[in-house]
Symmetry: C2
Subunit: 248 residues, 2 copies
């Protein structure tokens, strides 16, 4: 049942860096596709769901740095157009009623699916993070406090845990800014190690949207901006979600 799911994947696989991908996806007419307004995307993505836990809210494990910067940005949601993104257990919760084209069958089956960056339930032990999105400037801030389950070198966050969270913040920003859905490539240069339990701030920007791809960059640094932890870039393929007729 995953066969159709792989048609998109096979297209990606056969074309490496994806030159000329556009003509391989004839159903996407650049003149009409990616026409969902950012307002529509944000409202779809940030839907109120009382039945799903929102992991992007403060808990007792958040340190003073994380908390105070959270409240600073929460204030900006009232005055400067920033949007606090909710964070549910799975992307399935965010896109209820929709699915990736050609991938509907991959949704089937029953399991305790979890978004990778929300895989650790215990507060403060794994990923603590919240993303704020600025629609008019197509940028995001992610506040990240890595817990002891994310260790690499003793006492510091694993490089892979930061890479994964940047990829995740990229993906939300790419989707809301221009329906960027699948990571095509990702690069990261590490500058300093992040001490576990401290706050790292991910500053994500959309650099350009071109040829059905969304290009992003990220600088991760300490709150006082005196220490750069990493610089990253990534490219996402644009793709419109389809309404999931099986759920209607």
């Amino acid at each position: 049942m995953l066969r159709t799911g792989f048609q998109v994947a096979v297209i990606l696989g056969h074309h490496g860096a994806l030159p000329g991908l556009t003509h391989l996806l004839p159903r996407f007419n650049p003149a009409s596709a990616f026409g969902s307004s950012m307002e529509t995307l944000v409202s779809r993505f940030c839907r109120e769901m009382t039945e799903s836990k929102n992991y992007a809210l403060p808990n007792a494990s958040w340190g003073p740095d994380m908390l105070s910067l959270y409240h600073e940005f929460l204030e900006k949601t009232k005055t400067e157009g920033w949007v606090r993104l909710p964070s549910f257990r799975s992307n399935r919760d965010h896109i209820q009623g929709f699915h990736l084209p050609l991938m509907s069958s991959a949704n089937s089956g029953k399991s305790d699916w979890r978004l990778f960056t929300r895989c650790i339930e215990r507060e403060g032990q794994g990923y603590e993070y919240v993303i704020f999105f600025q629609p008019s400037e197509k940028k995001s801030i992610c506040l990240f406090q890595p817990g002891p389950y994310l260790e690499g070198a003793p006492g510091f966050a694993h490089g892979g845990s930061l890479a994964a969270l940047i990829d995740e913040t990229f993906s939300k920003t790419a989707y809301l800014s221009g329906e960027g859905l699948l990571t095509v490539n990702f690069n990261i240069r590490f500058k300093n190690l992040i001490p576990l339990g401290s706050l790292a701030v991910l500053n994500v920007s959309v650099e350009k949207i071109e040829d059905q791809k969304v290009y992003l960059s990220c600088v991760t640094q300490s709150r006082d901006q005196q220490t750069v932890y990493a610089k990253a870039s990534g490219t996402f393929l644009q793709m419109q979600l389809e309404e999931d007729s099986s759920q209607h």
Copy 2:
């Protein structure tokens, strides 16, 4: 107490892509440093520890593909010089009695530290993987079966979960091949999505060791090699562990 820990980090931070880093680390004389034999490194890293759980052993969640390839490589440990790497809860367990230079203070404190790629305890739900290392060819194979807690797109492994495991396999391979310890940069190009529950095989090679850096590449593919999931490269900084006098 983390101040000294950051001296290494600050050096990294101020020099971006690390040109000319050698002269900034005068304590490492290329003529004498990195002289630990691979045998020493492997025996230090793979120390028998009856008190620590080894996560790189089969469990009931491993599918037939993962199991049969595991036994194939286990056979090669007897006949072709491959080494099955044990995998403990934290890197602290692997390097007992040693620490990263200038970072000893980061070891202090009590917490339930876990290596990021072993952060999920429940069998089959998160990372299931085992790494086999081939010393004479400086290469590794990592068998990876992603569980439902590693989800990105519905039904598929999060790109960040694969990136993190490649980084982890790079780091073990870089250390055993030439004392590569800290990730400097990491690049990944995604070709196909990995279905959750299936087997992906990471083929890691050391490309060269030069200027105190270990350069690695990785091709991740299906067992039959018909589907390439991702191609990646990474660079690690060489650094010798120091004996931890506080533990003696």
